[in-house]
Symmetry: C2
Subunit: 122 residues, 2 copies
DNA sequence: CGGTATCCGTAGCGATACTG
DNA sequence: CAGTATCGCTACGGATACCG
């Protein structure tokens, strides 16, 4: 869009730009209001049905749950399985790929814990 | 691993809830549109002035930059130093605490890279 | 230079009703 | 049960203009 005005002393090399892009993209995958909760829930509880998710994740509306599940499915983080052809039972679970997010979430949680310690000491 | 599932309710134990809270809170700290870019920029370039940030982070408006810097400062991720009492020079840099986010960002970027590989193979 | 103040459009979320 | 459809709100972000 805009022209890069990095004529001054700002240099960004390729690999750094790349990793920044990766951070941004990954954050976008996760930064919706409920996505991390959905993922965390599935990490803990495994395969779960639609209503199970809605009951387990307190406060999420049907509309939003549906939308975020679709997005997670598009990104192949979760899989959707229709157990009953009459749509009376659909199961969601993390894909193998989705499960690798556990490490990322732990990393984030760890930092958060560290952060809390720091603020409590003051 | 024993997971208690009541008929209607799903029980989550304390430590799990706690870590989920930590993930959510940390995500909130970072999930504004430009924050990770500000942090990444400061990780690379170190101490930077206001205009330097605005030039370096392509597309951010003055208003938003200002707001996000304030929030980052409140969370003690960055520090703000007035170099000139007439406000002609103000420098921002990561605090020691802020620098610990590098690991988290790397973790996220790594996952993103892994993720891309996976999609390209298909 | 380093911000605020103001205005405005849109995306995101919530609540609710409804459908197959 | 597993979703969509509809509506309404508001908070976020972008574009200026302006100020000390």
């Amino acid at each position: 869009m805009e022209s890069k005005k990095a004529k001054n002393n700002i240099n960004i090399n390729c690999s750094e730009l790349l990793s920044l892009t990766l951070v941004k993209e990954t954050m976008q995958l996760l930064s919706c209001k409920w996505k991390v909760q959905i993922i965390a829930f599935l990490l803990r509880n495994g395969k779960t049905r639609y209503m199970g998710l809605q009951r387990g994740i307190c406060g999420i509306s049907s509309r939003v749950l549906s939308k975020e599940l679709q997005e997670l499915e598009q990104n192949e983080i979760i899989s959707r399985t229709v157990m009953d052809p009459k749509l009376t039972s659909v199961e969601y679970e993390l894909t193998a790929h989705g499960k690798t997010l556990e490490g990322v979430l732990l990393c984030i949680a760890n930092w958060g814990a560290h952060c809390k310690d720091l603020f409590q000491k003051k």
